[in-house]
Amino acid sequence: MRLRQGLNDRLISWKVSGGFRQTVVEILERGRRNGMVVIGFSIIATMIALALLAPVLPLADPKELNTDERLLPPSSRHWFGTDNLGQDVFSRVIWGTRVSLAVASLAVCFSLIIGVVLGLTAGYFGGAVDYIIAGTIDLFWTFPAFLLALAFAAALGASLWNVILAISISYWAGFGRLMRGQALTIRERQFVEASRALGATHGRIMFTHVMPNCLAPLIVWASIGVADAITIESSLSFLGAGTPVTTPSWGKMLSMGMINIAEAPWVTTFPGIVLLITILGFNLLGDGLRDVLDPRMKGMRR
């Protein structure tokens, strides 16, 4: 409650200040001049637009089976051809965007929340709290995220929420480590001591002073994290441990199309390319943001 109050004050005071707006404008301006950010952002924006517009676009029903039109090559009717069940590949790729983006962004959100809260607590308090949380983080960190996600997804069963859960559980440790490391350095800064001397609570210091100071690397990691999450989701679906069979998903399309890869390469090629471009988009954005959000790069031309 107190924390929410604190965040509310913060928002109010943000409104009071115009320097904040100016900083945002500056960051946007620097982003606009950064090629990686522009390309990455354009790709992601296109993907998000396609995902959102999928229901209104004049697409064939992605789940409609048509035995007469199996494995047709790309044509004006079926831009990306059809798969072995006669489903329109283009339509399935577009609908697959929805699944991939939704799963990946939700998974990253959850990982971010778990990682930030635990990492912040560990780094800020130190001592025994840190020992336990950092140990847990390391435990999760030692496992390859993908293997862990595979194990969880297989155990939980195929459903979108289970995939999100599996990815979050296996991926949060990265954010936890990042946040803990940042918190460890920030908590030694004098303004943390100063706010304590001015009567701020631990919660307030953690969430309104330590966390905002770590925002830049978190944003960068989150962007690259989405790319990772998309890869994990596709891989899980590819292996059959991910999304349910009927849901159009890029990974699933790749694995289904593999059987006919010699006669009908378009079934796998197109989802593969889109998958690649999307991941590239998030990675470019992440890399670009790292430069844009780094104050040392201010005024630098690249």
Binding site: N8, D9, R10, I12, S13, W14, K15, V16, S17, G18, G19, F20, Q22, T23, G127, R189, Q190, F191, E193, A194, S195, R196, A197, L198, G199, A200, T201, R204, T208, H209, P212, N213, L215
Partner: protein
């Protein structure tokens, strides 16, 4: 002797120790200090003598593994050492405030000056309404004589100069009219011309508000300018307390004498500066006698054996040294 003067802070027998694996470091070894209303007390001593620890102990912010192991700290008659964490937090910033040494790191770099001031004010005074908050913030900034407060409110700490930042820090500390302001080397990180301005500002504001101030510094010039009384610390103990003028004119403790002698005087031609020989004793080893004994020119047999007690040698002039304990 201090009949009418009402004490605001009474420290008695304060002992702060750091319990380390290698042993116990006694950072403060029985501090007795009283600060009265409307009074500025300077605490002077060399690095590591416990000046800052005294301040942190008063605020109960001694960094772990440090702990207040004995003694009492009474603030306006309230015992601070036994307050709950929440009660203590209500006192910090509102009744006792602190200013730190380096203004460039004492402000949060990611928030504007206005939002940081606003945070403290809404936290302690319960002002959440935007217009009222803004008004109060501007008022406080004007108080610390910041030019163009309207634009400073919207600026980030890195956009301000060192002196401006320290003014903002003072504004933060004084925004809730604390009864006691602790200033830990408030001018050390500033250049000399700004130092004088900041000191005068602090002095005026503290007097104007009827508050008291504990000014921590290693610079005797700073305390001479701003303080009513001076308290000299050495190795975790207070060795001498006197009124400013009295202390400069009649230093009694050999350490104080040494300190004053170490200051070069203007116009004096000298090849070498006066130094106090030797180094500070190891605070990990408990010593029975006077901590200054190894560096003292007038040490005696009993200095090694017995710990000198604080005596009022002259009115309002306290010294803890066997030279003045009578009976030779």
């Amino acid at each position: 002797m201090s009949g009418e003067r009402r004490p605001i802070l009474e420290i008695k027998g304060l002992r702060t120790q750091f319990l380390l694996h290698e042993g116990t470091v006694t950072a403060l070894d029985g501090i007795d200090l009283t600060i009265y209303e409307n009074e500025s007390v300077g605490i002077v001593g060399e690095t590591g003598c416990g000046k800052s620890m005294t301040a942190f102990s008063v605020l109960r912010l001694v960094p772990p593994p440090g702990k207040i192991t004995a003694g009492s700290i009474r603030f306006k008659g309230v015992e601070l050492t036994t307050l709950t964490v929440d009660q203590m937090r209500g006192i910090r910033g509102k009744l006792i405030s602190m200013i730190f040494q380096d203004p460039s790191t004492s402000l949060d770099p990611v928030f504007t000056v206005g939002s940081q001031l606003g945070e403290v004010i809404s936290l302690h005074q319960g002002i959440y309404e935007e217009a009222a908050l803004k008004k109060k913030v501007l008022q406080v900034l004007k108080l610390v004589r910041i030019a163009a407060p309207e634009s400073v409110v919207r600026q980030y700490p890195h956009e301000l100069s060192g002196g401006m930042k320290q003014r903002v820090m003072i504004a933060l500390a004084l925004s809730c009219n604390p009864s006691l302001l602790i200033a830990d080397e408030p001018t050390t990180a500033l250049d000399v011309t700004i130092q004088a301005q900041i000191l005068n500002l602090l002095k005026d504001l503290v007097r104007g508000a009827g508050s008291s101030m504990m000014l921590i510094t290693h610079n005797l010039g700073v305390v001479a300018e701003a303080c009513d009384r001076i308290c000299i610390m050495y190795a975790g103990r207070i060795v001498e307390i006197a009124e400013t003028l009295d202390l400069f004119e009649n230093p009694m403790h050999p350490y104080t004498k040494g300190l004053l002698k170490a200051f070069p005087k203007l116009g004096e031609q000298k090849d070498e500066l006066n130094v106090i020989r030797g180094t500070v004793p190891n605070l990990m080893k408990p010593f029975r006698g006077c901590p200054f004994v190894d560096r003292c020119d007038s040490s005696m047999e009993k200095c090694r054996a017995f710990r000198p007690i604080m005596l009022e040698v002259k009115p309002r002039h306290f010294v803890s040294c066997h030279l003045y304990s009578g009976g030779g």
